[in-house]
Amino acid sequence: MNKVRQLDDVIEDLKDGATIMLGGFLSVGTPLKCIEKIVKKGVKDLTLISVVNTYPGKYDLYETGGFDLAPLFANNQVRKMITAHTGTCAEAVQAMKEGKLEIEFFPMGSWIEKIRAGGAGLGGVLTPTGIGTLMEEGKKVLEINGKRYLLELPLRAEFAFINGYRADPLGNIEYRGIGLNTNPTIAMAADYTVAEVNEIVGVGDIDPLRVGTPSVFVKAVVQGYTLAERQDVFRDMWVKTGRIKVPAAAE
């Protein structure tokens, strides 16, 4: 079995109106090459499921301009977003004001558990988070042993795009650092999971205990930036957006 595909071919299957999940957290652990291709293909009316919105700083990585999730909103490709936070994306907030974008908020811990439930075949999860807030609206409240919980329903997507460090052709994924974040959960909750990785290695090269997402969840493996390229992107991005100070002598 060989799940390695060309990214262009994978994105060819993505149609207007699709529901997609993106792994990553403000660009760390985010499948940047996949997003770049989705932006260039220009698919519209997407329902986008991402834990937060875009990296909070202007940086031009894609040839279309922009970085992380921002171009998807600048190009009006998203009809609905399901997230815990959108304040980092001025384009999204503006689209929401104009009625072009619907945003459905969930507390971050509920958001990830809904997706875990979606991947795990559960009918939902009970959480105390959100009791006594707007989150209660339209949801079932269950009392268990005298404590009130909200029923949060499972969440799935047609496509999940995750980011990993290494993959083998079977689709086993090894993660690296805090780039782990939402990726292993999202990987389980889509009909078609695409893993963008820094490096594609041979079967048997990843220690079984280091497999963060077992191959069973992955349909396609695509080559992303190499680790060295990704390090260069983030070094440049963090310097240009003022997150790392350059010593005077090094300028």
Binding site: K97, T127, P128, L134, I178
Partner: protein
């Protein structure tokens, strides 16, 4: 000293040695710079690590090591990395001792509003991120905010006007003018800034409060 700086310094006194701590963004992030000597806390970043350290110097950053604000961080010896679901097991499951969160408003019932500003009727931004889980699961929730808005209106209210992040969840409220404990009987004034009396504080505070018999001056770390 600027109000924000005062608040961050005072909030650092809320942390005890050995605690697992989650700091929100903005003013709370600054609290880490003022933790008193001898107090060692374990900081959590909710995107998936425990025991992170300062911002790296150029050349020591790693594309896969960033915090929940998208900024590069370093990991201290003893750090751990985990996925987001595990991170919120730590938060919701009661494994965080103290969280310090910025607030738009707080009220005398111990509610905090910090996620929703109206952008259009029924539509809000920026979103709650991990704050709703933190106020639900952390043992001690501390709100930090400036006492008054730019027009002088009180942000310490009888009742929050914005959608709340959590109802009755606060233990302590810290502004640049005062420190309040939240009790079942309401707010209790514990510390007050130089130049203010409980009476003059009432003039700039919407919430009702009682005065602790041991009321003292606003404390700051040495």
């Amino acid at each position: 000293m600027e109000a924000k700086d005062l608040i961050a310094r005072r909030a650092a006194l809320e942390l005890a040695d050995g605690e697992i701590v989650n700091l929100g963004f903005g003013m709370p992030t600054e609290v880490a710079n003022h933790v008193p000597a001898g107090v060692n806390v374990v900081l959590q970043s909710e995107n998936g690590c425990l025991m992170f350290g300062p911002t790296p110097v150029l050349g020591k950053q790693d594309a896969d090591i960033g915090n929940a604000g998208g900024q590069p961080i370093t990991l201290l010896p003893g750090a751990s990395i985990f996925d987001l679901a595990t991170s919120f097991c730590i938060i919701r499951g009661g494994h965080v001792d103290t969280t310090i969160l910025g607030a738009l408003e707080v009220d005398q019932e111990g509610s905090i509003a910090n996620w929703a500003m109206p952008v259009a009727p029924g539509k809000y931004s920026p979103g709650m991120g991990g704050a709703m889980d933190l106020v639900t699961g952390a043992h001690k929730v501390v709100a930090v905010l400036q006492h008054n808005d730019k027009k002088g209106g009180s942000k310490v209210l009888k009742k929050c006007s914005l959608p709340v992040t959590g109802k009755g969840v606060l233990k302590t409220i810290i502004t640049e003018k005062a420190v309040f404990d939240v009790t079942p009987q309401g707010l209790v004034l514990k510390e007050i800034a130089e130049g203010l009396t409980p009476e003059t504080l009432r003039d700039v505070t919407d919430a009702d409060f009682t005065v602790d018999p041991g009321l003292c001056r606003y404390r700051l770390p040495n």
